[in-house]
């Protein structure tokens, strides 16, 4: 048996053991996802800069297409076409938000063991006070375009386009296109299309209707994705291929304070302002990126204008839209406007993660609104948006359409705006006069290094063991 097959089998058996109570068998998914011959067509790469803590260690792994930045320890994993960004890893002496007086005794490190991450983004703004030095993903299978954001996981299965955000999961199944940010979860199954945020002070919950979800993100028997959003991504896949075919690319012209990643696609009449971050595997076409705006990994900004300090979170898709100052477009949101159905979003709006706007006529959302769910026409705004002022007045709970919010609205808004400020800061949007550097400034000089797997022999498809230090 090839060692790559042995790796698949080990991942299957470990994750299945964790998910036994759900009678969930990961074998069909893994065997469909890991096409062994195809693995030889890919190469993995990792980024090196003088500003990120360097330590990579890969052993008995298939790390095809991966992008690593910052300390990472991968053992017996298949990290197929993932981006593992360790650029917010904490250093020795730093404290994490939830445990301010316990400084880290050594640099934080990402550790991924017996896992399969399939086109999954892992981003490392971690928060788990139990293991501040280790960002662990163990025995976890994460399928197409899922996001693991600052989360510790063990023995989980994440469906396509699922997001787990700033939390810990143990032996959980997260359905396709679900977003969870609920602190900690044990032995839970999250239904597909659930958007759930829970803190000690408030809770936000929304669930997509099955018929709508099925149209946008569905899965087949083996948990392979289908639907409008998957098709949107898949048909643009080849745009990225040419970036991987050449070694050196003429960089796209941008101000000195902005970073356009070498693995981003930039097309048409695109304009980049100051302090802009365009991350790897993002696609911009006829896009105007205002000062301090960003397009994070796997995001798309097409025929659209983003005013200043807008955030396009990982996997956000903005098409034929005008987005006002300081808007947030959350994870995997799909703002699918058309030439005759433009989407206008006012200043200071918060588009919740996993929101779908798919209008057949122009649509306009006023300033300072919270937006969620599924919007097809102006009529839907009544049940899928609320002004922040009104939300701030909520003391106990409010139910609007399929959405239920409980807790203090003002606290929710305060926490959210706080986080947005942190995101802008981390991404370099507030860089001024040498102060407040962020990714837009620090990610300009990345050296990309390439690793290929064994082409023959028992290790065919696996990568050699590599350890990289400064």
């Amino acid at each position: 048996m090839s060692q790559l097959q042995r790796l698949s089998d080990r991942i299957i058996s470990r994750v299945n053991a964790n998910l036994q109570e759900f009678e969930f068998d990961t074998e069909p998914f893994v065997n469909n996802a890991l096409d062994h011959e195809k693995m030889l067509d890919f190469y993995a790469f990792y980024g090196i800069t003088s500003r990120h803590p360097l330590y990579f260690h890969f052993t008995n792994s298939n790390i095809a297409g991966s992008y690593f930045l910052g300390k990472c320890h991968v053992r017996r994993s298949a990290i197929y076409k993932s981006d593992v960004r360790g650029d917010e890893l904490k250093r020795k002496g730093d404290c994490i938000k939830s445990a301010k007086n316990i400084p880290l005794v050594e640099d934080e490190m990402i550790s991924i063991l017996d896992s399969l991450l399939y086109k999954t983004l892992v981003h490392s703004n971690s928060h788990n006070p139990e293991s501040p030095e280790a960002f662990i993903i163990r025995n976890t299978i994460s399928s197409h375009y899922a996001n693991i954001h600052g989360s510790t996981l063990e023995g989980c299965f994440l469906g396509p386009f699922a997001t787990v955000d700033l939390m810990n999961l143990h032996s959980c199944i997260v359905g396709e296109f679900s977003y969870v940010q609920v602190g900690e979860l044990f032995h839970r199954k999250i239904d597909p299309g659930t958007v759930w945020i829970k803190s000690p002070h408030f809770e936000f919950k929304y669930k997509f209707k099955k018929s709508i979800l099925d149209n946008f993100v569905g899965v087949n028997d083996t948990y392979q994705p289908r639907g409008v959003i998957y098709d949107f991504v898949r048909t643009r896949d080849q745009e990225f291929e040419r970036l991987f075919e050449v070694m050196h690319l003429e960089p796209f012209e941008a101000p000195d304070s902005s970073a356009i990643n070498r693995y981003a696609v930039i097309k048409g009449k695109t304009r980049i302002g100051e302090n802009v971050l365009v991350a790897q595997r993002s696609l911009l076409e006829n896009a105007t990126m205002g000062d301090g705006s960003n397009a994070q990994e796997n995001s798309y900004v097409i025929d659209s204008v983003l005013e200043g300090n807008c955030i396009t979170a990982h996997g956000g898709k903005i098409i034929n839209a005008d987005v006002g100052q300081e808007c947030f477009v959350g994870f995997n949101s799909f703002l699918n406007g058309g030439p005759d159905a433009r989407i206008k979003i006012g200043e200071g709006c918060i588009v919740m993660p996993h929101t779908i706007i798919n209008p057949s006529m122009p649509i306009e959302i006023p300033n300072e609104h919270l937006i969620w769910g599924y919007i097809e026409s102006p009529e839907d705004l009544a049940t899928q948006t609320i002004s922040l002022d009104k939300l701030a007045e909520v003391r106990e709970s409010v139910t609007i359409g399929q959405m239920t919010f409980s807790g203090k609205g003002s606290v929710f808004i305060h926490v959210f705006k706080d986080r947005l400020k942190h995101i802008l800061l981390a991404n370099g949007a507030l860089y001024n006069d040498g102060e407040d550097r962020g990714h837009a400034q620090d990610d300009q000089n990345i050296s990309f290094n390439i690793i290929q797997p064994y082409r023959t022999g028992a290790r065919k498809g696996l990568y050699p063991s590599i350890r990289i230090k400064p």
Copy 2:
């Protein structure tokens, strides 16, 4: 001071200490060779196969452009655009030729320390019985297109296009375009253009006239090369650039038993026979490679026909020539025929390393001849060739033109032909029915991995520490 500058300074001071007796200062050479800004334009690469013993370890090094295959340990070195081929490294239990009953206690490993190898080829068919497990090059500066072939060196300076072959050198200077294969050398300075082979049984010596050498390979004050051969190589440099610009290349069509390295340039009407090896950084244009022939690293075969089992050693250049069966064209030989001045070399000829044939009219060398020195016209053949039959009759010594041979001619021919057979075998020329695999069969499935230096910070131009194991 940058760490790259510190690396240069260390190399200079160590090599200068070794060469003090010659009052030789390497500083001007090193400072000219290591253009720190240019170092950022390059990337290094190394090859991985399932058939070569894998262990790389680079620390505090600049390894731009290097190509490694097989176990290699590099520490505080600048290996700029070198090919370090460890594909004939011995394994634990193997014996070396000069010590048949002392098997290696562990796998042989290349170790390079405090050295600067500038576009130098290191090839690992080693033979030093004192350190069979370590192929060491320590405190050595080797300039443009020099060849280190199976040699252990310490504190040496090799000039451009110099070759040291199957021997040990300690604190030596080898002049430009000199070839030495003399077992062991201590504290010696070899004049430019010396071709010197010495064994217990025979000695071959030839020295180029200064006026001729100056025209073909000269050096300036800082030991940077100039001349016809350097110009020939330099003007073809850009042909290789496109190979480094793309990730995947359509492979050139060749029989299954032959290997065309992905970093070789193949142009025009080129035909590849069975069991042919075309190594990295070789260039073929309108070339016919007969069954079992090879074009080794840095060799050129242009508008030429090589019949079966011909060897083009490292750096050999064959232009407008017809080379008969089982000919050997030695290191750095320059067979510079023209459309109206074709060079015809008969079967079984031995073109000695560092031979220059530069005719203005057609020239023909009969079968089974030894060829050396500088040939411009048919008249020169009388003083620069001898038939192997005649050479075999020599018992004591013979002087022909500038060449002196002493010892038994028959032994010399026997040893030489034996080595050629070994070279054919190692390169896979004799592969048949699954038996006698060599490089032509084993080098077909190389994964090329790419490393880039730090682009900013104190380590700018240096590479991270990397350790790669199976």
